[in-house]
């Protein structure tokens, strides 16, 4: 089987559409993040989180309204995989055992005879949450910086670095935007926690793979076709590597989808971010990174000749 054996798409020419498409998504993401706020999970917000498993199905809305008074605040409640399991998050200073006992006592009143067991508890202190938040921020900034430097050294041109970083920021920002918009409507937990940061860094690594492979071909082609103009050369490089880009994206998309479907409830949000990231990463290395490199290179030359 062969896909895109000798394709000849004009990726650079399509960049206006791509810029419009990406620009819309990015603006929508930023607006969503600014208006709705990032939906931090327990790792970054602190508080207490429980997963309860009931014998019989329960109603999330009912539990939320019934528990608000005894808990003193509205808990975040979501179904966790099935309609018998719930994920409950609450911000409280109480001892975690006290909270658990309080919840179990209220469940017993609300659903007599419906036995419940505690599957998972998490307690994160507010200061620790801040440390985790900081760590996460540093790791993302640090990762982008390392990527910038490495590409700068290997491909000898700041516009390669800038193009790659812009593509990565594009991917991460849009995933973050989707997670923010889906906070209320997603049937699984899409809060921003440590696992999601791991997913982001994986997306960074993955999207980078694609971009680097294209850049590598540009480097090679620029030696072979010395007279070709820069735009054509980048287009040729994108086409040369298109079959590989698509095949790798397909195999990776296969496994992250498998992870999303079969990986269990704990990994749902993480796997979902990866599914989005693989799609966006492929798109951005084809349409965003290289187009930006062309643009930046043109401007750099213009600035020089002035």
């Amino acid at each position: 089987m062969r896909w895109f054996e000798s394709p000849n798409f004009d990726f650079i020419k399509a960049h206006n559409i791509a810029y419009f498409f990406s620009g819309t998504l990015i603006v929508a993401s930023i607006v969503a993040i600014l208006t709705m706020g990032l939906n931090y999970g327990i790792d970054f917000k602190g508080g207490q989180e429980f997963v309860f498993e009931f014998q019989e199905p329960v109603d999330v809305v009912e539990i939320r309204s019934e528990l608000t008074e005894p808990l003193g605040s509205v808990p975040e409640i979501k179904l966790f995989g099935s309609d018998r399991e719930i994920l409950l998050r609450i911000d409280t200073e109480e001892d975690i055992t006290a909270t658990r006992e309080l919840l179990l006592a209220n469940f017993a009143i609300l659903y007599p005879g419906n036995e419940v067991s505690v599957q998972k508890t998490d307690l994160v202190g507010p200061r620790f949450a801040e440390d985790l938040r900081r760590g996460a921020m540093y790791s993302i900034i640090f990762a982008l910086a390392v990527v910038f430097i490495y590409i700068f050294i290997r491909f000898k041109g700041w516009y390669f670095s800038a193009g790659a970083i812009a593509a990565l920021a594009h991917d991460v920002l849009i995933v973050l935007g989707v997670f923010t918009i889906m906070a209320e409507i997603a049937p699984f937990d899409v809060s921003i926690d440590q696992a999601l940061i791991a997913a982001f860094l994986t997306i960074v690594g993955y999207s980078l793979n694609d971009t680097v492979v294209v850049f590598d071909r540009i480097r090679e082609n620029s030696i072979i076709y010395k007279t070709m103009n820069f735009t054509d050369m980048i287009n040729k490089s994108l086409n040369d590597t298109l079959s590989r880009t698509v095949v790798t994206s397909v195999t990776t998309l296969f496994v992250v989808t498998v992870l999303f479907i079969f990986g269990g409830e704990v990994l749902k949000g993480f796997a979902f971010a990866l599914v989005l990231g693989v799609i966006l990463g492929t798109y951005s290395s084809l349409f965003v990174a290289s187009a930006l490199v062309v643009e930046l290179q043109k401007r750099a030359i213009k600035a020089k000749t002035k």
Partner: protein, 601 residues
């Protein structure tokens, strides 16, 4: 073409495969062993375990261990209270000024996320640049004199913190060992944090108390009854004249929630359990503190002494501020039962120094009570009937046998050098862990099958070869994890699944290149040679950057996320090796004759 040194490559493959199997063998054995043990009946199993204890222990240690998120258990991060430690190290030199500096330094430290001790020294010097910290930390034993510089004190404090963390870890280890947890892990994180992982633990409350329990045991004398009565009178007068602020929601008059009638002459009064915090708040105010003599301290009783309509009542007991004897002198402790009431108590024996002092204290106070105070609560205050020469004493008023056992454990492991705060706690139930293992296993199997089938359909023979490499790749990853004694977590399994998808990338790059070279008119063997050679730089660049990202994730992530980073790193190394070396050897073997054909689709 034989000039290619495939012997070396084959040797490498054999070596890695050998190492992997060597490291994975105990895991396999352990699995078989567990299966065997599960098939036995309870009594047979116990007998088998005692007979083969060494073997079982060795296998368990060497086999690939599962993270808490997969086998269930408890994960706790504790922080050593550096501010309290810094205050306590000043000992008797401590004053309000120092306490205030520590308070402000603590706020700055929480704000700026820097080192507390640096903030403390900075705050101290900011207030008075000439002031010397040696004033508070002078100690002949520590070789700190009046002329020691603040930098020296800072180094001393940091050193003390390191000691405190190390000692706390030892104490926690000893407590956990006594509690009985298989394969606990206790690690230091940063300069003042301790991470404790306890697989299979489900009694969280008990473990929490065990970890945090400072077990500061004190023996104190009690004031004369007329001293107590005059203090009571002063407080009663003060509050009966107090004008309360109507607007405030907080209780201001102590008499509303606190009854000054004690059950005996040493009892200062009592309050309902839910009001004790409010009582403490009012008693702490400066106006009230002035009414209580300096050498008198008011402490709550550990257990409620009576009930009022089902509401437990707690007694407040007046004791001397001076501590006569501390728990350091306890050399032995065990659970005993009070012969008359049959209630559990902890019976203690002191070392020779303690016994001598105990004998002197009891001898001088016959007919008067000695309060036994644990972590700031009075457990009992029995009246001394005769001089005690054998260094014996006991703590009564304990809730149950289990509590008594835990108390013995804490007393024997020693007092923590500084209070520990739980800043993170996670527990996973065993059944959720099992579900996660199943989910992870399914993901690996499905992910692998889908990718394998796709590769064969797309690249034919080449795809089949890549699949073989992929299979070996997964075994290598597990081998690397076992070899480095890493833990397999759920995110770690996700890392393996992800690696399955990305590992074929190197082969995709190579095979696409080979197809391209063949389109350019090259012979199969030349195309293969060029394909591998030309794809190499892209493969290296792409993998090095991903590896960097994994390293960053490893250094910043905690808990299971670290497991993800580890499998990602292992996956990159293993996939480079299997995709470049292993496939090459197989393809070279298949094309050893000039006429042989290998399809790349």
């Amino acid at each position: 073409m034989k000039k290619q040194n495939n012997g070396f490559k084959l040797g490498m493959i054999a070596l890695f495969l050998g190492l992997t199997l060597y490291y994975l063998f105990p895991t396999l054995q352990w699995n078989l062993e567990q299966r065997h043990m599960e098939s036995l009946t309870e009594t047979e199993r116990v007998q088998y375990e005692t007979e083969n204890i060494a073997k079982i222990q060795r296998l368990r240690e060497r086999s690939l261990s599962l993270g808490l998120d997969l086998q269930g258990g408890m994960y706790v991060t504790l922080e050593v209270g550096t501010p309290q430690l810094v205050l306590e190290l000043s000992g008797d030199f401590a004053d309000d000024y120092l306490e205030d500096v520590i308070r402000v330094a603590r706020e700055n430290y929480l704000e700026n996320r820097t080192d507390f001790i640096d903030e403390f020294v900075a705050e101290f010097e900011r207030r008075d640049s000439d002031a010397m910290l040696s004033r508070y930390y002078r100690s002949d034993a520590q070789n700190i004199t009046r002329t020691s510089t603040n930098a020296e004190i800072s180094a001393f404090l940091k050193n003390q913190r390191t000691n405190a963390v190390e000692r706390a870890m030892e104490i926690i280890r000893s407590r956990i060992d006594r509690f009985g947890v298989t394969e606990p892990s206790i690690l230091q994180q940063g300069n003042s944090r301790i991470v404790v992982e306890l697989p299979g633990v489900d009694d969280e409350e008990r473990v929490r108390d065990l970890l945090r329990g400072t077990a500061r045991l004190e023996f104190r004398l009690t004031p004369e009854s007329d001293e107590i009565n005059s203090a009571k009178q002063a407080i009663a007068d003060f509050f009966s004249e107090l004008e309360t602020d109507e607007e405030s929601e907080e209780v201001q008059n102590l008499l509303e929630i606190f009854d000054l009638r004690g059950t005996n002459q040493y009892s200062f009064g009592y309050a309902a359990g839910r009001d004790t915090a409010a009582v403490n708040r009012i008693l702490r105010t400066e106006d009230v503190q002035r009414l209580i003599p300096r050498n008198m301290t008011l402490l709550w009783g550990a257990t409620s002494f009576a009930q009022d309509n089902g509401i437990p009542l707690y007694e407040m007991i007046a004791v001397r501020s001076q501590i006569e004897l501390t728990g350091d002198v306890i050399s032995e402790a065990r659970v005993a039962f009070d012969p008359t009431t049959n209630r559990p108590e902890v019976s203690m024996t002191m070392d020779s120094d303690g016994a001598r002092r105990w004998s002197r204290i009891t001898g001088a106070n016959i007919g008067r009570p000695v309060a036994i105070v644990l972590d700031g609560y009075v457990y009992s205050y029995p009246t001394v009937r005769s001089q005690i020469n054998n260094g014996r004493s006991s703590i009564s008023g304990i809730g149950g046998v289990q509590e008594a056992e835990d108390l013995v454990n804490i007393l024997l492991s020693g007092a923590l050098p500084a209070p520990l705060e739980i800043i993170e706690e996670r527990t996973v139930g065993a059944s959720l862990g099992e579900a996660s293992i199943r989910a992870g296993l399914y993901s690996i199997i499905f992910g692998l099958s889908v990718v394998a089938i796709f590769m064969i359909v797309y690249y034919r023979t080449g795809g089949g070869i890549a699949d073989l490499a992929l299979l070996l790749n997964i075994i290598f990853i597990l081998g690397i994890l076992a070899g480095f004694q890493a833990t397999l977590t759920l995110p770690g399994i996700a890392g393996i699944v992800l690696t399955i998808g990305m590992a074929v990338d190197a082969n995709v790059l190579i095979f696409d290149r080979i197809r391209e070279e063949m389109r350019g008119g090259k012979t199969l063997r030349a195309a293969i040679d060029n394909g591998y050679a030309n794809a190499m730089s892209a493969i290296i660049d792409a993998n090095v950057t991903t590896f960097f990202v994994a390293v960053i994730l490893y250094s910043f992530g905690v808990g299971p996320i670290k497991g993800f980073a580890v499998t990602l790193m292992a996956g990159i190394v293993a996939s480079l090796f299997s995709a470049i070396v292993i496939t090459r050897v197989i393809i070279d073997y298949l094309t050893r004759e000039k006429t042989s054909v290998v399809s790349f689709g």
